[in-house]
Structures are given as C-alpha cells and as structure tokens.
C-alpha cells in the first residue's frame, strides 16, 4: 500500500496579505482589494492591480547578501515557505532528517528589473539606435551586477528555500506554465508516496506585476480592460494582474502523527494531463483518489477569465461530473488574489484546505451572469456552510498544462 500523505502547514502571501488566514478570510468573504501597482501604464496613469500590501522581504530573509540575489518572485517564495514551516511547527529538524526533506517549486521566467539592465545597455547604443554588441562586450558587461544571472534563474527559489531549511532531499523546479505550482504539490505527493522523502515543501511564486510582465500580458491581449476580474461571468474579457506565493507542507502520515502535527487534510490524489485534456487530469485525480465524481463536495476552479478558456473548463467539469447526483459547488479564488501564474494553484489549494477544514464554501466574487449553465454545477455566488469530505482543486489555461489535486477531510483516529 502507498504511504499516506497529509497537509500540515499552509503559507501564503498575496494581495490579501501575509499568512494563510488572511487569504482565507478574504476568499471566504469574496473580498477583493486592488491597489496601486507602483508603476504607470502606457498612458502615464498609475496602474492598479492585486499588489501585496507593504511586503518587506527583510522580515523573512535576514541575510542582506541573500536579498541582493533574489528577484521579487524568490523573495515571495522564501516568505511563504517560512510561513508554511512556521504554521506546521517545523523548526530546523535533526540533521539526520535533512536528506528526507525536500522542496518542489512551480516557477518560470522571472522578470528582471528594468533599471538594472538599462544602465549598462543604454551606453552601448550606436547612432542608428541599435545595440552595439562590441561596445556591450567591452563596456556593458563589466557594468552589470556580477550575480545578475543567479537573481533570475527559475530554480533559484527552490535553491534558496533548500538552503534556508537545510532540505537535502529531492529538489525540483517545474516550469510548465500556470499549472506549475499545483504540479509541484502533486509531484511532492508522489515523492513522499514512493518513499523518497518524509516531508516536502511545495508551492509556487510569481510576480509579473511589473512593467516587463505587464507589457507581455497586455501585448498578448489577456488583461481585462476594466481592471476587474470576473471569471465565469459573461462579461469577463481577461484577467487582472496579481502577485503572490503559496507553499504547503506535505508530510507522511506517521511522520506527522509522531510529532503531533495539526493535520488540515489528507492529500487523496493527483492527476495531470496536457493543457487541452482537462478531463484527463480530472479523471486521473479521481481514479488516483479511489473515489467517484459524486464523492467530490467542492471544486476550486481555475477560472482564468478568458472567455474561451472559461467555457472549455466548464465543459470539462460538465463532462466529468455528468453523473454527479447532486449539484457540485464551484468556487474560484482568482477574483480575490488576481492572476498569480505559477503561484495560483498553491494559493487556491490553501483556500481548498480551509474549505474542507472549516466546511464552508466561498463565493466567486463579482460573478453576476454565469457564462454557462449546467445542471450539475453550481457557480457559487453566496458563501455558505457545507459538509464535505472531498475537495478538488484544478488548474489549467493560459498556455499551461492541466493539474488536479483532491483533498480528503481529516477525521482523527481513522
């Protein structure tokens, strides 16, 4: 029989604030707070989005030297991993356990800071307005920050976290688009199941809330014009930018029991598929959990807010839950956090863990006119208590793959 895995720590940093409780209380109330992002848009207007309020990395990273080589995404990753380990009550741990602990992170391209490059690059522009590479080689390169490359390597969040907590076991960085963060949790589950570790930190971090990220999403036509975020609504035309990170602590059941850890939920199963095969990942997660569609009591949806993707996602749910005898409540946390890319899955999983622990189904903030109506899906507009045993979290869309994770309510003494 496979080793059982439970969730024992939650850490989150998002527009809702720092800590998993801040995220849950905002999600529970469907409360979205949009703030000034700290830069102006192409029209010179201050841009507003889902910015983390007053984030100070120094609170989590005590070594100033380390801070200098961390892109904002890395800082957020470290902060939320600290929060998750604190929540799990794991401190350092015996050196002999270091090899049995690891980390998996969902990541990708980390946006650089404009001024860092601009300084040395702008002095190497020739008369025709083009970069003179010869001049750049001679004068530009020496002007760059020597550790520039390390500040932005996608696997550096996992590296910093592993050093901080002395995690010498399995270490991986998934860069598969927006599903990366939830895939990281799924792979951490597999690593513990197969016996390669007893405790894993898993999560994701992203901040594209900067001019480089904004330009890319704006250019791709993915941003909602009104700055609002209303997944699954007929009037939704895209997403609003957010930033954040979430990490969870996964632990082998007996390991968690031995140290008397609080258990949020059991991780029941996981499924993955290519991006267009959402139903394959949904069915794989059910099969892996050994349950039927009718056993799912709540679904945390991806909801990118792009019309075609919202429709495709709802169609996949309708197909998989076709035989669901009741009506499945569906929530979506993105209107509360904004679009957070690699971090979105873990942030939504933190919400799901609270859904199942507290027995409360949160609303989809801002939803007025659902894009599609299905006899088996209830796109929740009013939060409400609900007794449920299994909660599903699904991430797909925006050039990402599909990933689905199932949590099972933890009943003591089982």
């Amino acid at each position: 029989m496979l080793r059982r895995v439970v969730l024992t720590g939650l850490g989150a940093v998002s527009a809702c604030g720092e800590g998993a409780e801040a995220l849950w209380s905002a999600a529970r109330e469907g409360q979205a707070v949009v703030r000034q992002a700290g830069f102006e848009d192409e029209n010179g207007k201050p841009y507003s989005a889902y910015r983390i309020p007053d984030f100070a990395a120094e609170k989590y990273v005590t070594q100033r030297k380390s801070l200098k080589v961390m892109a904002r995404d890395i800082q957020l990753a470290v902060a939320s991993s600290v929060l998750a380990m604190r929540d799990a009550g794991v401190n350092g741990g015996a050196a002999s356990e270091a090899g049995r602990r690891g980390v998996v992170v969902g990541s990708g391209v980390l946006n650089h800071e404009l001024d860092e490059l601009a300084q040395s690059v702008s002095e190497c522009i020739a008369g025709d307005g083009r970069l003179d590479l010869r001049k750049f080689g001679e004068e530009g390169i020496p002007g760059l920050f020597p550790l520039w490359l390390l500040k932005y390597l996608p696997n550096m969040p996992a590296c910093h976290v592993s050093i901080l907590f002395d995690l010498q076991g399995p270490n991986n960085t998934l860069t598969a688009g927006t599903s990366s963060g939830l895939q990281a949790v799924g792979e951490a589950l597999r690593i513990i199941q197969r016996g390669d570790a007893d405790l894993m930190l898993a999560g994701g971090a992203e901040s594209k809330l900067n001019p480089v990220g904004y330009a890319e999403y704006k250019g791709l036509g993915l941003l909602s014009s009104e700055g609002s975020y209303r997944p699954f609504d007929q009037h939704s035309r895209g997403f609003a930018l957010g930033e954040g990170a979430a990490f969870v602590v996964l632990e082998e059941l007996e390991h968690a029991r031995r140290r008397g850890a609080r258990i949020y939920a059991e991780v029941a199963g996981y499924g993955a598929s290519s991006g267009d095969a959402r139903e394959v990942s949904l069915k794989a997660a059910l099969k892996d959990s050994g349950i039927a569609p009718s056993d799912i009591g709540h679904l945390q949806a991806s909801g990118t807010g792009l019309p075609s993707e919202d429709l495709a996602e709802l169609a996949a749910y309708a197909e998989v839950f076709f035989e669901h005898p009741g009506i499945l409540p569906v929530s979506c946390a993105k209107p509360v956090t904004g679009f957070t890319g690699f971090a979105s899955g873990p942030l939504e999983l933190v919400v799901s863990a609270n859904v199942i622990a507290e027995g409360y189904v949160p609303p989809i903030a801002g939803l007025e006119h659902p894009r599609a109506v299905s006899p088996v899906l209830d796109l929740v507009r009013q939060g409400r208590p609900a007794a449920l045993r299994h909660a599903m979290t699904h991430v797909s869309g925006i050039n990402g793959q599909s990933a689905t994770l199932v949590l099972r309510r933890w009943e003591d003494g089982r």
């Binding site: 598969a176 197969r194 250019g219 991006g275």
Partner: protein, 435 residues
C-alpha cells in the same frame, strides 16, 4: 524495484548537438573524439570575454518554422526539441498519437528558456531612458507594445517547448517541464520514469533542449566567471579533469528519449535499447553555485540511484561524468565517485563527453544518457578529449583522448546543477530485449 513491478525501457532516441543533428552521427563523432566547439557565429561576440561555444550547425531551422503554426516565432530550443522528438519517435515506431495511446503518453522535459531579441530590446530601453539613471515606464511600455511581438516574448517561457511538443505529437497524458539548471533533462528523465512506474502513463517523451548562446546568456555566465576563455583554441577549450581547465564551454542542442513500460514495448515489438533502472535526486542545500566541498549531495544521489536499481557499486562498469571542465566540479565529482566506489574507483572508467560537446546546460544530461545507453549497445566508451596534463586532485581513469573498446552492461550517468541539484541515473542492458 521499490515502486512496483513496472520496468522502464528506452525505445527511441533523438539528438541535435554541436557535433551532428542525429543520434547516430553524434555518436560516431563522439567515438572519433571530435570537438563541436568553435567561434560564436550566432551574434557578434568579438569583444566578449568568451567568444567560443558549441553551436548547432546545418539544421534546417526553416523547415519547422513552416510546419508549425506560429512557426516564425519558435525559439532555437523549441526547434531543436521538435527535431529530436521526431527522430526519437520514428526510431520507437510511434506516429502521431491518437485516442487511448495519446492519453497514455505524456511528456516530461527539462527544457530551458527560449532566447529573445536582446538587440531590439536594448534599443527600447535606450529610448525609454529619459534621464541617465532610470527607465521611463510609460515610454518603455509604449515602445514595447509597438515594437516587440508579445507572442515572441512568450516563447521565452520554458513551458512553451512542451506546449509545442504536446500539440505536435498529440500526447495528452501528464505533461510537465522541469528547469533545474544543468541537471534538468536528467531529472526530467528520472521523473518521467517514475510516472511510468506508478502507472500514470505507458510512454513518456523525455529529455531536454536549450540554447543560451545569446548575448545575455554568455554575459551572465561570464560575469560568474564560469566559462572558459580559451578563445584561441576552441576545440581544446573544454578539458574536463585536465589540470589546465579554465571553465566550461557553453553549447546548445537537444536530447530526447522515448521511455516505455517494458511489457508495453514488448507487445508492440518496439526496439529496446536499454533499461532505465535507477534514479537518484538530492540537493546540496549549501550555496547558489558551489557544490558541497565534500560532495555529500552527489554521493547520496549516486547511492540512491544504485539502491533504486537494486545494484551494488561493483555492478557499475562505466560512469558517464557530469565533468564540466570547471575547477570545482571536476574535483568534487572525482572525490564523490571515489567515496561511492571505494578502492574500485581507480579501475572504473569515467569519461566526460562535455569535452567534445561543450555544456548543453538543460539538455546535457539527456544526451549523456543516450551516450551511456549506446556505450552498452556497442561495447565502446566515448573518451574525454583534451586530457593532457594530469591534475593530482583528479586521478581517476577518464578514458583519455581516444574511445575504448569495453563491454559494459550497467552505466551510471551523473548530472549536477547550479542551485545544488544532484541527479544520478542508472541505465543497463535489457536482457528481455532479446527474448
């Protein structure tokens, strides 16, 4: 095998390397001890500290740009991967995937990020510098939205490679990509094998692809003083384990393997090259770029891979080294191998094909695994070329300069990366293949 009875074999291989654009031609060149390193031609590097690299040559890039939708935006990394996947699938006897086969086939790659138009981007930055210290963001945004193609910017994301691959091959099973620096494609292959072992897929397309031969890539590594600057002797620049080594040589390309569950492969009569028998993965948790001086992480990774394959150190016949040609790696890897294999280490041949290929970064491990499997098939070990001056701290048998005939059945392949990533894979002859 601890994860259950499902065994994983290699049924197809593909490669695009600085030596050649197929597996068989690359292998021939490796056995001949040829170097694929030369002066950088992809951009004007004439004033860069490093002006040499291992570039892919003679590949018809336009073929893929015509075949694929949005083909004109494809990065070199995606084109290399599409080419190598095609070779590997053809070898494995797989066409475009449909129906159940598509759902039971996944992709797990260690693809690196795609390059971008740095020269154009620099022009935009300049225009947006309305004073001498900082960028005027509205101007930057106006210029970027006007002059940069957003879909081309998106191609920088390493996830785009697997998006293209799943779309092109039809694979609908588990799809992922890991980017764990220089260990990425080895880790991808290890994790892909785990997916097959636990039954989530029957076939996995795995490997890696990368090109960092662009101004920012070379500049970034130069700033870290990681690259060889032996610009006057490109072919002699990558010299793993040699006392005169002065850094690694950046190169590019792709390596792909088709991994398949043994019974599945036998049922469809697929050609079985070798069995992927063991996988080990650890972290140094030490420093951002330096390995643990005692090689602790590397040692544990090798031991895990052996344990996973249910083998003893004495079962290993050849080690395909990470062997980057940097001062630190070669020393620590040598010490780690000596710790794992004890006194037998001095009789254990260990070579680095990076001496010929340069360092393909995320793609390196996959090509090295393919070479490991071919060493078993052909009974010949590729050499470490440019080995002239022994280093007292690197005193193993590195198969210096010329390939060596030797029957080997079990090979260990190491990959270590920035960030303290340690991966070891064990590949062995598959006896079932003959029955």
């Amino acid at each position: 095998m601890k994860s259950g009875p499902r065994r994983v074999v290699i049924t197809g291989t593909g490669a695009v390397t600085p030596l050649a654009n197929t597996v068989s031609e690359t292998w021939k060149a490796l056995l001949a001890g040829r170097s694929g390193v030369g002066p950088i031609t992809l951009f004007d590097a004439s004033t860069f500290p490093t002006r040499i690299a291992g570039e892919v040559k003679g590949l018809d890039m336009n073929r893929w740009r015509k075949i694929r939708p949005e083909g004109d935006r494809l990065g070199r990394n995606s084109i290399f991967a599409l080419e190598a996947v095609s070779e590997a699938m053809a070898q494995a006897g797989l066409g475009r995937l449909e129906g159940t086969q598509a759902e039971r086939t996944g992709i797990y790659f260690g693809a690196g990020d795609g390059g971008f138009d740095f020269v154009r981007y620099a022009g935009i930055l300049k225009e947006a510098m309305t004073d001498t210290v900082s960028v005027n963001v509205p101007v930057y945004l106006q210029q970027t939205l006007k002059r940069m193609d957003a879909r081309a910017l998106l191609e920088q994301e390493p996830s785009q490679v697997v998006n293209h691959l799943s779309d092109h091959t039809g694979a609908r099973g588990p799809v992922s990509n890991c980017l764990t620096a220089c260990a990425a494609s080895s880790q991808a292959i290890g994790e892909a094998a785990e997916i097959i072992r636990r039954g989530e897929a029957d076939v996995m397309l795995s490997g890696g692809t990368h090109s960092m031969i662009h101004p920012l890539g070379v500049a970034g590594f130069n700033l870290l003083t990681a690259l060889s600057t032996r610009n006057d002797d490109p072919e002699g620049a990558s010299r793993p384990f040699d006392k005169e080594r002065d850094g690694f040589v950046l190169s590019e390309g792709s390596g792909v393997v088709v991994l398949e569950e043994l019974e599945h492969a036998k049922r469809r009569g697929a050609p079985i090259l070798a069995e992927l028998a063991g996988y080990g993965c650890t972290a140094d948790a030490y420093r951002l770029t330096d390995p643990r001086p005692d090689g602790g992480g590397a040692i544990r990774a090798m031991r895990q891979a052996l344990e996973d394959a249910a083998l003893k150190p004495s079962d290993i016949h050849y080690v395909n080294a990470h062997g980057t040609s940097t001062e630190l790696n070669d020393q620590v890897e040598t010490a780690a191998v000596k710790e794992v294999f004890g006194r037998a280490a001095s009789d254990l041949p260990m070579s680095s094909i990076k001496s010929m290929l340069g360092h393909m970064i995320a793609a390196a491990g996959a090509v090295e695994l393919i070479a490991s499997a071919l060493a078993i098939r052909d009974g010949v070990l590729p050499p470490t070329i440019n080995y002239r001056t022994p280093d007292p701290s690197c005193d193993l048998d590195y198969v210096p300069n010329t390939a060596r005939r030797k029957n080997v059945s079990v090979v260990l392949s190491n990959s270590f990366g920035f960030g303290g990533q340690n991966i070891a894979l064990v590949v062995r002859r598959c006896e079932e293949a003959r029955s």
